[in-house]
Amino acid sequence: MIKPEQPNISLGFIPLTDSAPLIIAKELGFFEQWGLNVTLQKQNSWATLRDKLHAGVLDAAQMLAPMPLASALGLGAPPANVITPLVLSLNGNAITLSEGLLQEVLKENEINSVTLPMAAYLLQKVVEKRKRNGEAKLKFATVFPYSCHYYQLRDWLKAVKVDLDDVEMLVVPPVSMVECLKNGDIDGFCVGGPWNAKAVRAGIGMTALTSFDIWQDSPEKVLGLLEEFHKKYPNTVLALCAALKQACAWLESVPNRFEAARLLCNEKYLNAELDVIAPSLLGSCLTHQSLPPRSIPSYNQFSVSNNGCINQPELVRGEWLIKHMVSAGQIPPHVTIPLDLVAKVFRPDIYQQMRLLIEDQGVQFYRRSG
């Protein structure tokens, strides 16, 4: 067993369904098994989580996959050498439209129902009608500028040539999404669980499609930490990755995920009801109060045993995210992207070290329930 140089870790997370690996590793004692004393620090905004990580107030944190790249480039904050040695989850987001927008879509397209996953071309007529009549643009919310949510929303709309200048995009914190949709402040949003399910249960929206319908199996949340922290405490980082990887593997089993949902409900974590947390974890996408759920087995994906590398931060995924940042116009002219940027931020080498370590220890990885 390795000995972590620094056993006390403060680990930041934002209360979302896909923070499951962090919560499971804590609740099931995986961190302890690896000699760590981890304190989970619930955060309310991505920007504050980022600033605390940069400042060393947090030792590591669950981050949106594009965030470590944005940190390295100095987008939105002074540059910091954030690295990611582990992908925590794939997919997990969805786009939900307000009941009002749904009615407008039906009316403008002269249809009685929408086939799910909904194609964005059905929105085109609404966008055009609003433009023609000088009405307010459709407003869509995402959770952070440097997020897959934002790029997914853009890709969905762009695929059918909806002019992005004809809609308005803004950021709303996940906890306020449902309320904003209800008040008519926004017409739709792209957010992670449990907020899509929450809107459907409340009868105020329809989940039109999941991020899995837009991008198949792309990294969503990653573990982020400072390069300096890794240099100083390499064994601590390996232990942290090993415990989280073990939690991801535990979450591969669907029966286990129901147990996870029960833990996530807790006030100190998501503080939400089981009936909005459990569905996506079980591969069910709630769609609308009057419609049956859709089966999306990969809605929340944490580990796939016949594909050992989904938790590995692949460079090609990083390059792909950079492309989206460029396409969204997020790289200002005075910022040049270093050629080795992705190789510095995405660290499959640390991931591989951790895997060897786990194999050496013969850790029972795929603990099925029962």
């Binding site: 309310n44 905004s45 920007a47 504050t48 500028p145 950021v171 914190p173 996940p174 306020s176 926004i186």
Partner: protein
């Protein structure tokens, strides 16, 4: 740099500035409003809850946002200019937690966000003054940088056009420049635009020749 900042402060001191203050601690918020009573800062709203915040931002169009660093609304307010069409605004964050100093160091060199300790009504005015001054100084610097960059670019196209004219029309440097300036004056265009047209025209002609 210091003199620039001072100058901007003086300039700005006549303006009435709208503040959006977001604080769940009603008592603290009220004491801040009182402290700012007779100043150029007008506290337009006290948002204690999440509801309707978006609409308020739209209506108030605040000049400064003052917010608790632990508020979930920080992401929304800070990204108004990143992905929505708002002008950038200074965001002053306060934090009652022990670790403020450390976070402050990392945010300090940021462009529009400032962290202060637990906000004290006595000290709130100078803090806002400093934030506004720094924000303006930064944006002035950025504008100057953009200007210089632009001038450099236009210089580059003019030089390139001049060289191309000299080569293809066998002109002297002076002749080439005069001919461009004349075209600019005759057509009421900027010299830079004339240069760009010349470059693209001569380039496409060159390519045409290559195909012959």
């Amino acid at each position: 740099m210091i003199s620039t900042a001072k100058k901007t402060t003086q300039l700005a001191s006549h303006e009435q500035l709208n503040i959006l203050l977001i604080d769940e601690n009603v008592q603290r918020a009220e004491s801040i409003v009182t402290a700012l009573g007779n100043s150029r800062y007008k506290v337009s709203h006290l948002a204690c809850t999440q509801a309707g915040l978006l609409k308020q931002v739209d209506e108030i169009q605040p000049d400064i946002i003052v917010i608790d660093i632990e508020s979930p609304n920080r992401d929304m307010l800070e990204s108004l200019h990143t992905i929505s069409h708002y002008n950038p605004k200074p965001v002053v964050m306060f934090s009652s937690q022990q670790d403020t100093e450390t976070i402050n160091l990392s945010v300090q060199s940021g462009v529009s966000a400032y962290v202060v300790g637990d906000i004290d009504p006595e000290r709130v005015k100078p803090i806002l003054d400093a934030a506004v001054a720094r924000f303006k100084a930064f944006h002035k610097l950025k504008d100057e940088l953009d200007d210089t960059k632009h001038q450099l670019e236009s210089r580059k196209s003019i030089d390139l056009a001049k060289r191309l004219l000299m080569k293809t029309n066998k002109m002297s440097e002076e002749q080439a420049f005069h001919s461009m300036r004349k075209t600019a004056m005759d057509t009421g265009q900027k010299l830079e635009d004339v240069a760009k047209t010349i470059v693209s025209m001569l380039r496409s002609l060159e390519q045409g020749h290559e195909h012959d």
